[in-house]
C-alpha cells in the first residue's frame, strides 16, 4: 500500500503564505498546490490556510481541497496561529511550508497532530536585503534559533540536498531532514527540430539575481568562434530593460534577442530548437528552468552553486562552471561538444530521462511517506531520534535474489526506505543510516546479505537506489 493510499480519510492541513491563485505565486506555491491536490485525490480531507490578496475570496473550493484565505503578508501568520489554536485537534497531520519564516505549528498546536516542516530555501542572507535592522535580525532569529526551539521533534523536508546542507550549516538544525524534490510538468510537445546552427535559449523571469547579464557579456567572445550563434532570452521582469541596454551597447542586436513573454508552446519551441540553456544564477533552491529545458532534451550550462549542482548532472545533462572559472570557457567547450549532431542527440536523450525522474506524483508520494511515518510515530508515542543522520545507504542484490528480497522486505522496512527492482537486481535506498546501520536493519528484516554502498546526493535527491544516468 502506498503512503498516499494510507492518507485516505485523514484530515491534513497545509500552511503556505500564498496559494496558487495569488498573482505573486511562485515555485513554493506550485509545490503546495500539486501535492495538496494529490493528497486530496487520494482521499484525504485537505485544507490550505493561506493569505488573502486583492479581490480574493475568503473560502474557495476551486481545487479539490478547501482554501482558507486570511491576513496579508505578515497577518497570515497570526491568522494561521488562530486557526491552529481553534482547529488543530481536528487535523491528523500538518504540512507547515516555510517561506523564510515558518508558521510554528508545533507551538500553536502542541501535541495535537503530526507536523512536517517543508523548506524550499534558506533565507538567512536575504533578510538583510529586504528588511533593515532590527527587523532583519528578528527574521534571522525566527528562521534559525526560534525554529530550532519550536520544532524540537518534527521532521523537516528539504527540496534538494543543497537546501538540506544550508539548513544544517546556516540554521543549525539537528533534526532529521528528508529530501522531497519538486516535480516538473512536461511542456506541450514541440514539432520544431533542433537547430543546425548554434543556438542558446533561456526562458525565465528576468530578475537581477538570475544574472543573465553574464550570458550577454559572454556572447562577444563566443561570436569569435561561432559567428552565427543566436541567443534568445525570453521572459519579462525588472532586469529586462538593463539586459536590452547591454545588448545594444555591445552591438549584439543581430545575435541576442529578448522576445519578452512567451506562451507555453513558444517556450517549448524555443527550448526544443536550442542546443543549450544557461542558468548563471548565484544560487537556486532548485533549478526549475533547468529541468524544463531538460524535458525538451536541452542541456544546461550553470555555475557550480547550491541548487543548480543538484539539478545539473555535470558532463551528462549539462556542464557546471567550476568556481573560479569563466562562463565563456565552459560555454565554448559545451558548444564544441554539441556541434556534433550525434552528441546532441545523446545528450538530449539523457536530459529527457533525467527530467522524467521528477514527477509530482512521486513527490507527493514521498511527502506522504514522511507524513505517514510521523503520524505513526506520534500514535505510538516513540521519541524521535535525537541525532539526525544525513548519510544514506544503497543495498543491492544480484537479480536472482529478487524474490527473497521482496519477500523479506514486505514489512520490514521503514516507510521512507525506497525499494526498486531494476534489471541488474533489486535495490533499496535506506535513508538516515550508514552501511553498518543498513546491514542491521536488513538483517532484522530477514533479507539476504547485500552489497552496501553510501548513496550519492543524486540518489538521495531521486529517492532511489538506482544508478545515476550512464
Amino acid at each position: 500500500m502506498t503512503a498516499l493510499e494510507q492518507l485516505a480519510g485523514r484530515r491534513i492541513l497545509f500552511l503556505n503564505w500564498r496559494d496558487q491563485a495569488n498573482p505573486h505565486a511562485g515555485g513554493a506555491e506550485a509545490y503546495t498546490e500539486q501535492i495538496a491536490r494529490r493528497f486530496a485525490g487520494a482521499g484525504a480531507q485537505v485544507t490550505l490556510v493561506t493569505s488573502a490578496f486583492a479581490e480574493s475570496r475568503p473560502y474557495d473550493w476551486a481545487h479539490e481541497y478547501l482554501v482558507v484565505r486570511e491576513g496579508g503578508r505578515l497577518g497570515v501568520y497570526l491568522a494561521a496561529a488562530r486557526h491552529l489554536r481553534r482547529y488543530a485537534r481536528q487535523y491528523d497531520g500538518i504540512v507547515d511550508c516555510q517561506n523564510g519564516i515558518p508558521f510554528f505549528a508545533p507551538f500553536w498546536a502542541p501535541s495535537a497532530s503530526a507536523v512536517v516542516c517543508v523548506v524550499h530555501h534558506v533565507h538567512q542572507r536575504q533578510f538583510g536585503m529586504y528588511f533593515r535592522w532590527p527587523l532583519s535580525q528578528v527574521g534571522r532569529m525566527l528562521e534559525g534559533r526560534v525554529t530550532r526551539a519550536v520544532y524540537r521533534d518534527a521532521p523537516f523536508v528539504a527540496v534538494s540536498p543543497s537546501t538540506r546542507a544550508e539548513m544544517r550549516h546556516q540554521l543549525g538544525l539537528r533534526l532529521p531532514i528528508h529530501v522531497v524534490p519538486n516535480g516538473v510538468e512536461p511542456l506541450p510537445p514541440s514539432q520544431v527540430p533542433r537547430a543546425t546552427r548554434p543556438r542558446i535559449a533561456v526562458v525565465t523571469r528576468l530578475v537581477p539575481h538570475k544574472r543573465l547579464h553574464l550570458l550577454v557579456q559572454a556572447v562577444p567572445a563566443l561570436l569569435e568562434r561561432w559567428p552565427d550563434l543566436r541567443v534568445d532570452i525570453a521572459g519579462t521582469g525588472p532586469a529586462r530593460a538593463r539586459l536590452m541596454a547591454a545588448v545594444r551597447d555591445r552591438g549584439l542586436e543581430h545575435n541576442v534577442f529578448l522576445p519578452g513573454r512567451v506562451s507555453e508552446q513558444g517556450k517549448s519551441d524555443l527550448l526544443s530548437r536550442a542546443w543549450l540553456t544557461v542558468a548563471p544564477s548565484l544560487a537556486e533552491g532548485w533549478g526549475l528552468t533547468v529541468l524544463e529545458a531538460n524535458t525538451c532534451g536541452t542541456p544546461t550550462v550553470a555555475f557550480d552553486v547550491p541548487g543548480l549542482r543538484d539539478s545539473v548532472l555535470d558532463g551528462r545533462t549539462g556542464w557546471l562552471v567550476p568556481s573560479g572559472s569563466s562562463l565563456v570557457t565552459t560555454l565554448t567547450n559545451a558548444l564544441d561538444l554539441l556541434s556534433d549532431p550525434a552528441r546532441r542527440q545523446l545528450v538530449a536523450g539523457r536530459a529527457k530521462s533525467w527530467a522524467c525522474r521528477f514527477t509530482w506524483d512521486s513527490s507527493a508520494e514521498r511527502l506522504a511517506r514522511v507524513l505517514v511515518q510521523e503520524m505513526t510515530r506520534r500514535d505510538r508515542g516513540t521519541p524521535s531520534r535525537r541525532q539526525a543522520i544525513d548519510l544514506a545507504t544503497v543495498a543491492s542484490w544480484p537479480p536472482e535474489d529478487a524474490p527473497a528480497v521482496q519477500a523479506s522486505l514486505g514489512s520490514g522496512l521503514r516507510m521512507t526506505d525506497a525499494f526498486s527492482a531494476g534489471e541488474d537486481g533489486p535495490r533499496v535506498l535506506l535513508t538516515g543510516c550508514d552501511e553498518v546501520g543498513a546491514a542491521a536493519a536488513l538483517q532484522r528484516a530477514g533479507a539476504p546479505a547485500a552489497k552496501l554502498t553510501l548513496a550519492t546526493s543524486t540518489q538521495v535527491l531521486c529517492g532511489t537506489g538506482e544508478d545515476e544516468l550512464a
Binding site: H169, I389, E435, A439, A440, A450, L452, A455, T456, S457
Partner: protein
C-alpha cells in the same frame, strides 16, 4: 613479517574471502564481513566531516604520493555524517592505481570514524591522517621503514627533536589544550604528543586495539595509545613538519568539553583521579 601483498586483489567489489584475523574484530563489533576491504600493504584512513572544500587537495596529494611508491596501498575516506557532497567527490576522483574507498560512519566523532575504518581494514599497515593535511604525507618516508623494521606503532609528534611547527595553533586552542595535555601525559607516559593526527600501526595490532576502544570524540587518540601500550607494545614518535590549517570542523566549546570529559573519564578508569 615480510609477506608480499603487492599482488593483493584489486578491490572492484568482487567477492573475495577476507582473512579471518581481519574479519574477527569486525564481526565482534557488529560490522558485516562484506564491508571488510581487500588486503594491501598500507591503508590510509581519512575521517571527514563536511570537508568537501579541503578534502580534494588532500586526496590528490596523497594519491600522487602513493602512486609513486612500489607497495600496494589504498585510501579510505570515512564520511562522518557529512551533509555536503563528500560522497559525490569520491566517485569522481581520477585514481587508477590507488583505490579510494568510501565508508560511512553515522556515529559522530573522529574516534568513532577511525575505529570503523580500522575495523574494516585488512591491510598489513593501517594508519590515519587529517583531512586538512596538517602533517605532510611525506612523513611516510620516515614511518614506513620503521614499521617494516619491526616497530608496531609509529605516531607523528610536534614535540620531539626535529619537529617544526610551521604555523602555530590559535591561542585559545593552546590554552584549552593545557589541561588535556597534562592528563594525557599521565595516561600515556612516554608519548610527548598524543594529538597529532598522523598515526600508523601494524594492522593486526590496530584491529585488536580498536575493538576495545570506547571514546568517540577526539580524545580517542589517548585511549588508543594507552590501549596499545597496555598490550606491551612500544610507541615510537617521529618528528613532523606541522602546519595549523584553518577551517577545522572542531567546535571550540562543545567539542572541547566533550574531549575534556572523555579524557577525565579515561584517567578515572585507569585510577589516576
Amino acid at each position: 613479517m615480510t609477506t608480499d601483498l603487492s599482488t593483493a586483489p584489486p578491490s572492484t567489489g568482487q567477492p573475495w574471502a577476507a582473512p579471518e584475523q581481519a574479519v574477527g574484530p569486525a564481526r565482534a563489533a557488529g560490522i558485516p564481513p562484506s564491508l571488510v576491504r581487500a588486503p594491501c600493504h598500507l591503508e590510509i584512513l581519512i575521517p571527514a566531516h563536511n570537508e568537501v572544500r579541503r578534502l580534494p587537495r588532500t586526496l590528490l596529494r596523497v594519491i600522487s604520493y602513493l602512486e609513486a611508491r612500489p607497495y600496494s596501498s589504498a585510501i579510505v575516506v570515512i564520511d562522518n555524517n557529512s551533509v555536503d557532497r563528500t560522497v559525490d567527490l569520491i566517485s569522481h576522483l581520477p585514481s587508477p592505481n590507488v583505490p579510494v574507498h568510501l565508508l560511512g560512519c553515522a556515529q559522530a566523532g573522529k574516534g568513532a570514524a577511525v575505529r570503523r575504518g580500522i575495523l574494516t581494514s585488512s591491510a598489513r599497515f593501517v594508519g590515519f591522517m587529517d583531512a586538512d593535511l596538517a602533517t605532510p604525507i611525506e612523513t611516510l618516508d620516515m614511518v614506513l621503514p620503521m614499521l617494516e623494521a619491526g616497530c608496531r606503532a609509529v605516531v607523528g609528534s610536534r614535540r620531539v627533536r626535529g619537529a617544526t611547527v610551521a604555523e602555530p595553533e590559535p591561542r585559545q586552542r593552546i590554552l584549552g589544550g593545557l589541561l588535556f595535555k597534562a592528563l594525557a601525559r599521565r595516561i600515556v607516559p612516554g608519548v610527548a604528543d598524543t594529538q597529532c593526527g598522523f598515526k600508523i600501526f601494524d594492522g593486526d595490532l590496530a584491529r585488536e586495539a580498536a575493538s576495545q576502544l570506547r571514546v568517540e570524540g577526539f580524545a580517542f587518540d589517548v585511549e588508543l595509545l594507552r590501549t596499545i601500550s597496555e598490550m606491551g607494545v612500544g610507541v615510537s614518535e617521529v618528528p613532523v613538519v606541522w602546519s595549523h590549517q584553518t577551517g577545522s570542523t572542531l567546535r571550540g566549546l562543545r567539542d572541547g568539553t566533550r574531549g575534556a570529559a572523555d579524557v577525565l573519564r579515561l584517567a578515572h578508569r585507569r585510577g589516576y583521579l
